[in-house]
């Protein structure tokens, strides 16, 4: 039920924001420094640029996410940091990373990578058993590194391009391919968790309470801490290029 409410809220947000697409201003004075040379203009159109057809909308969602962060998520994370000891927070992070091994495993299989799939499976078994349901990451200490994989990367591995840049409400920078990936990963996990566990209050508290808090706690990014007026453009470029680099590395195996 809650999931549906989330979806409805999100689509409302999209519709509301779609109305604020910028209208190019008429009669602008030409600034002193501008490109007069066609070659320079060509460079300018491709260097550091990312395909972003919904830029106006994306920028509004970026701002919405920053405000959500300031007024809601970060205060909650600060309270969480204040009331829980560090080892407990590490335990919570490890627990969710361990649950996420389900996705890592599924994607390692889809990428036909037995080595990665085996590592992930052994990690999951070790951490779930002697790692106390995943709260201790004993596998990493034994030299079995986590293999973070997602369906977006799997799609990339099989040749799908990123498509248009998208800023997702709450979740942040992504693109069309990785958004599809997120939905599939989420569905996989939901499908694999037995329904008698999903229907408990404890599961709701963990999935809709603790998990989002932990997700924000585990990410050090702070909106506008770069101080740059071009933060949106730089984040867009770095996120896109890092993702491309990761997928290229994946393809070389």
């Amino acid at each position: 039920m809650q999931k549906n409410v989330f979806l409805v809220l999100n689509s409302f947000l999209f519709l509301a924001l779609a109305g604020c697409e910028p209208q190019p201003q008429e009669g602008l004075e030409t600034p002193r420094r501008h490109f007069t040379d066609a070659a320079e203009r060509d460079y300018a159109n491709k260097e550091f640029m990312v395909y972003d057809p919904a830029e106006g909308l994306n920028k509004h969602i970026y701002k919405f996410n920053a405000e959500l962060d300031t007024y809601f998520l970060l205060p909650v994370v600060n309270a969480y940091t204040y009331i829980t000891p560090e080892f407990a927070r590490t335990g919570v992070s490890n627990f969710f990373l361990n649950v996420g091994e389900v996705n890592n495993f599924a994607n390692a299989v889809l990428q036909v990578n037995p080595e990665k799939a085996t590592t992930t499976l052994v990690r999951f078994i070790l951490n779930t058993t002697i790692g106390g349901l995943g709260t201790f990451d004993v596998a990493t200490r034994m030299g079995l590194e986590r293999q973070p994989e997602d369906f977006g990367k799997t799609l990339g591995y099989w040749g799908a391009g990123g498509g248009a840049y998208v800023v997702l409400p709450v979740l942040g920078p992504s693109n069309i391919r990785d958004t599809v990936g997120k939905v599939v990963d989420y569905a996989t996990l939901t499908f694999l968790v037995p329904s008698h566990i999903q229907d408990t209050t404890a599961y709701d508290v963990i999935a809709y309470g603790l998990q989002p808090i932990n997700l924000r706690y585990s990410n050090n990014f702070r909106y506008y801490s770069s101080g740059s007026p071009f933060e949106y453009e730089i984040v867009r470029y770095i996120v896109t290029q890092s993702r491309t680099a990761e997928i290229e590395k994946l393809k070389q195996h």
């Binding site: 602008l28 030409t30 550091f48 973070p148 994989e149 680099a245």
Partner: protein, 423 residues
């Protein structure tokens, strides 16, 4: 069922023992890091391991040599409104006040004001390191952004045209006096000191001189860490660095950055993820790829160019100069900045100096020449002041990359016995 269970139990038991044994033997304990108290009790010898000054600038201190500051509280972020009715465009909605940080001692203590380097603010890593060691030594700390940081330009600069040391000092001094009145209520302040890092060190020197005239804070000690000798000369050095591996400048930078990211993603072979939070990432990348000096210089030049782009664009929008951003365009959240970013990235500090800075200050005083503006922003113009003020000291590196050939000797000559140089 019962049989099954006990059978499983008997089989898994040896496996568990084996696993636990492997676990105990293979668990490498976290390397123990030195505490601030150990540093203060017996300062370690200066044995910085990276000899290449470009690599040193990018990598900083290798993780295992860093001091463990986790016991020191984080500085508190504070906000000030300095110019009440200043109109700020919606595109800068997040710049809601001047941002600085402070960390006050619970007991009576002197306050040290720390000024950050080019484009940096009170959250920059270098500034935090300086802050931590000072706090551990018993000082209260106020951390200020560089006047070239967008937040400073928007909220604390008197006319948005930043970079002129004497004027930036006035802006900084105004902030310091207000902050000082605020902290006088919260803590017992027994004195004032001033530290600046890099460009911030030049600002510190001019602020100290201003304080000597106005005598509001009476700094008892002023320390310049890695200052430029001449602002213009150091800007030239950093501008030139960009072109070392990129003869065509920013026009080739896209490929350069993509290659760098792709290399970074290959450093950690244990997984396919690119983890920027890994504190060894840059050091490992350096050891693995052994990049040439020109590539390293270009990385520094590029990050400096980005700081210049931020500064020049912000200054332009706020002052309505029509330099990069059309004078009559509204700046809002949805304004597409792509064309302006492209121009800003191709605009150097020296372009700004020639086109905006020189014009602005020459319009105020026709007798000023470009050369006079260059000369007045050099520590050499303060030679008399420096030699008569024993409380002003200098720490720098003999191979500091922002110094042009011969400038180190001039710095040493200016400060005489009051300087420490590390190689």
């Amino acid at each position: 069922m019962q049989n099954n269970k006990s059978c499983l139990g008997r089989r898994t038991f040896p496996l568990l023992v084996l696993l636990t044994a492997t676990l105990i033997t293979s668990c490498t304990p976290e390397p123990k890091r030195i505490t601030p108290q150990q540093v203060l009790n017996s300062p370690p010898a200066y044995n910085y391991p990276i000899n290449n000054p470009y690599a040193a600038t990018i990598i900083g201190l290798p993780p295992e040599m860093r001091v463990d500051y986790s016991a020191i509280p984080a500085p508190k972020d504070e906000t000030l409104t300095l110019f009440k009715d200043r109109p700020i465009p919606e595109g800068f909605w997040y710049q809601d006040g001047f941002k600085y940080s402070q960390l006050l001692q619970p007991k009576a203590a002197p306050v040290v004001y720390v000024i950050a380097g080019t484009g940096a603010d009170s959250r920059s890593e270098t500034i935090r390191i300086i802050s931590n060691i000072l706090y551990a030594s018993g000082f209260s700390i106020v951390l200020l952004p560089s006047p070239t940081h967008p937040n400073f330009i928007i909220n604390a600069s008197q006319n948005y045209i930043v970079g002129r040391p004497a004027q930036d000092a006035q802006d900084l001094y105004r902030v310091m006096k207000i902050v000082d009145r605020k902290i006088a209520v919260q803590a017992t302040v027994t004195g004032h000191m001033l530290i600046g890092y890099s460009l911030g060190a030049l600002d510190a020197a001019y602020t100290a001189k201003l304080d000597d005239e106005q005598k509001s804070l009476n700094f008892s000690k002023v320390l310049l860490i890695n200052p430029p000798l001449s602002l213009y000369s150091s800007m030239k050095v950093l501008d030139t660095m960009l072109y070392r591996a990129l003869p065509d400048g920013v026009n080739d930078a896209d490929y350069f950055v993509k290659t760098a990211l792709s290399r970074l993603s290959r450093v950690d072979q244990s997984s396919d993820a690119l983890d920027f939070s890994n504190e060894r990432l840059l050091l490992d990348a350096y050891n693995q790829y052994n990049p040439s000096d020109s590539r390293l210089a270009t990385i520094i030049g590029l990050s400096f160019r980005l700081a210049a782009a931020d500064m020049i664009f912000t200054s332009d929008v706020m002052s309505h100069s029509g330099y990069i951003f059309p004078k009559n365009q509204r700046f809002t959240t949805s304004t597409s900045l792509n064309p302006y970013l492209a121009v800003a990235l191709r605009t150097s500090f020296r372009n700004y100096f020639d086109d905006i800075y020189t014009e602005k200050f020459r319009a105020e005083d026709r007798r000023l020449t470009k050369q006079a503006l260059i000369d007045e922003s050099s520590l050499q113009s303060m030679a008399g002041y420096i030699s008569h003020h024993p409380e002003m000291g200098l720490i720098t590196n003999r191979d500091d990359i922002i110094l042009a050939p011969g400038e180190l000797d001039k710095l040493v000559h200016l400060f005489g016995k009051k300087c420490d140089g590390f190689s």
